[in-house]
């Protein structure tokens, strides 16, 4: 099971003076169970790309397969497939709190599953589970107006609204934009939990647009780098972050951690590769220092 893009190109407003090609011939596969990060400078086409994953945008050229089903056919069947894909590919847009509209948090979260035809006990169960996954207590928040909540809480409600549809793939477009550091940290923890599967919920495939290279290094299995609508790099973050020149051309920098370990290595300290967070980096540096000491070099 996977989402597959084959030679996808997309042009905004074709045939007008404002015509603009946002994606050029993109082919990629997102396997189920992975955590895929998408990085790129502002305007590189990240948001355009992810809107192809559940059929919100139809490619100008090429095809998108979700679990082997083409969601781009223009006939009835194709439209049906696109609609089904929206059930299995959940989409959390940038600033998702702006889509809230119901009077209570519970009603807003129930909107998605209700559109799927659920009601009664099952629906309520879904809402409870989704709010819990997003880190909100049903008893405390369920009956509040979403508009009275704080920014971070609103965002969690919006994410719960997508989780309540129980998608197998979850797409998040810069989910931490505009949050304070603590809110950002908490949200990333939630995302990591969703990926593992928790609270009786199966693990989710995460597709994650981010500007934070540190988050990407820490969490992602796969990294896709876009530059002006072209796919310029893809692979595991450790491998991709070694391509400093291509990254710089794409307007990105390797994460602080990678830069630090690389410069340590440049001074001759044999730091092993593969550290993905601060703790692992510390352990790696300690190990390198110890082996250095044993060899009597310092």
């Amino acid at each position: 099971m996977s989402i597959e893009l084959k030679n996808v190109s997309y042009t905004y407003m074709p045939g007008t003076p404002m015509e603009r090609q946002a994606l050029h011939d993109i082919s990629l596969t997102i396997r189920e169970g992975t955590f895929t990060a998408i990085a790129g400078h502002t305007g590189s086409g990240k948001s355009t790309l992810i809107q192809h994953l559940n059929g919100l945008l139809q490619p100008t050229d090429g095809t998108v397969l979700v679990d082997g089903v083409n969601i781009n056919a223009r006939d009835r069947q194709g439209r049906g497939a696109a609609k089904l894909a929206r059930g299995s590919v959940g989409m959390v847009f940038q600033y998702p709190e702006q889509q809230l509209f119901e009077e209570t948090v519970a009603a807003d979260v129930a909107f998605g599953p209700r559109n799927q035809g659920l009601s009664g006990e099952v629906l309520e169960q879904r809402v409870r589970a989704a709010l819990a996954l997003a880190g909100l207590d049903y008893e405390a928040f369920g009956n509040q107006s979403p508009f009275q909540l704080s920014g971070g809480q609103k965002r969690r409600v919006a994410i719960a609204g997508v989780l309540a549809m129980q998608p197998r793939y979850l797409v998040l477009d810069e989910p931490t934009a505009g949050l304070d550091p603590r809110g950002r940290e908490a949200l990333m923890e939630t995302v990591a939990r969703l990926r593992q599967g928790s609270g009786g919920c199966p693990p989710m495939t995460i597709i994650f647009v981010s500007h934070s290279m540190d988050d990407i290094l820490r969490l992602a299995d796969e990294l896709i780098v876009l530059d002006r609508g072209r796919l310029v790099l893809s692979g595991s973050p450790e491998v991709v972050f070694r391509e400093k020149d291509i990254l710089r051309k794409a307007g990105l920098e390797a994460p602080e951690l990678t830069v630090l370990l690389d410069s340590l290595r440049a001074t001759g300290l044999p730091v092993p590769a593969g550290a993905r967070n601060r703790r692992e980096a510390a352990a790696a540096i300690r190990q390198a220092l110890l082996s250095h000491k044993e060899a009597g070099l310092c």
Partner: protein, 267 residues
């Protein structure tokens, strides 16, 4: 789908029409329109059509794009023609059900449709060659003499500038909210009329909320920069009448004389 709507259809360029002072352009357009209504003789219309075509060619805007402005109105034009074709008494050349189609009707309908087409083309030429900002400046300048009569010239112009500025933003926002709700399973293209009306709620509520928020922010930002209405306010790019404007007015007066002569000669 929403992105196909263009409001403020300015087409940047450096043609004669682009360089004309917007106040002069606006007044000449009004005068031109009046002439279209006054000189309703075939030879005069030939000259008017030729003039319009000349202006279109001069503007540097692709003809296809200018003609595109007729598209939303073509059925009104066709309907007008049909009405005249069927309802004008005269020499019938065909009979359809209870309607007699007459040569006089065809001629009259053709003339009135031509008038409509010319009016549409000329006014879209104005918006193609004048940026919305200049257009509102011109309106403010032209309304200023009526301030004594209580016309809030500056306020009207400022409102229009702000509205024009936010149309694309709101379109973009609507597009985004629609996509977000579509991702939550709403299908805007299916269901009964009632269902479709209900489907507007999840779009309109967030849209209004964000519009109010934006209005609030904007008011605050304007106040923070000491905006206090039009009294004593000067412009960074003041409008200035130049040589081409005099040439344009002169050419227009000549045209008027020609049209008047043609009209009185034929009538």
């Amino acid at each position: 789908m929403l992105s196909s709507i263009t409001i403020g259809q300015y087409y940047p360029g450096n043609s004669l029409l682009h360089r004309l002072d917007p106040r002069v352009k606006l007044l000449l357009l009004l005068a031109f329109m009046v002439e279209i209504f006054v000189f309703t003789a075939a030879p005069a219309y030939a000259v008017l059509s030729a003039m319009t075509l000349l202006l279109m060619l001069n503007s540097g805007v692709p003809l296809k794009i200018i003609m595109g402005s007729l598209k939303p109105l073509w059925w009104i034009i066709a309907f007008t023609f049909l009405i005249h074709l069927c309802s004008t008494p005269g020499d019938a050349f065909a009979q359809v059900w209870i309607f007699a189609l007459t040569w006089e009707g065809a001629a009259r309908g053709g003339l009135i449709c031509l008038r409509l087409v010319l009016l549409i083309l000329l006014s879209s030429l104005l918006t193609f060659t004048t940026s919305p900002l200049k257009l509102t400046d011109a309106m403010e300048a032209l309304l200023r003499p009526f301030k004594g009569l209580g016309v809030p010239a500056h306020e009207l112009a400022m409102m229009m500038t702000i509205a024009l500025r936010f149309v694309p933003t709101l379109i973009e926002e609507t597009d985004r909210i629609m996509k977000a709700q579509q991702s939550r399973g709403v299908d805007f293209s299916e269901g009964s009329l009632l269902k479709r009306a209900q489907n507007m709620v999840p779009i309109l509520v967030p849209l209004f909320l964000s519009a109010f928020r934006r209005a609030d922010d904007l008011a605050l930002a304007m106040e923070a920069r000491c905006y206090r209405g039009g009294e004593g306010r000067t412009q960074m790019k003041a409008l200035r009448v130049s040589q081409i404007d005099f040439v344009a007015v002169g050419a227009f007066l000549l045209l008027t004389v020609l049209l008047a002569a043609l009209y009185f000669y034929t009538v």
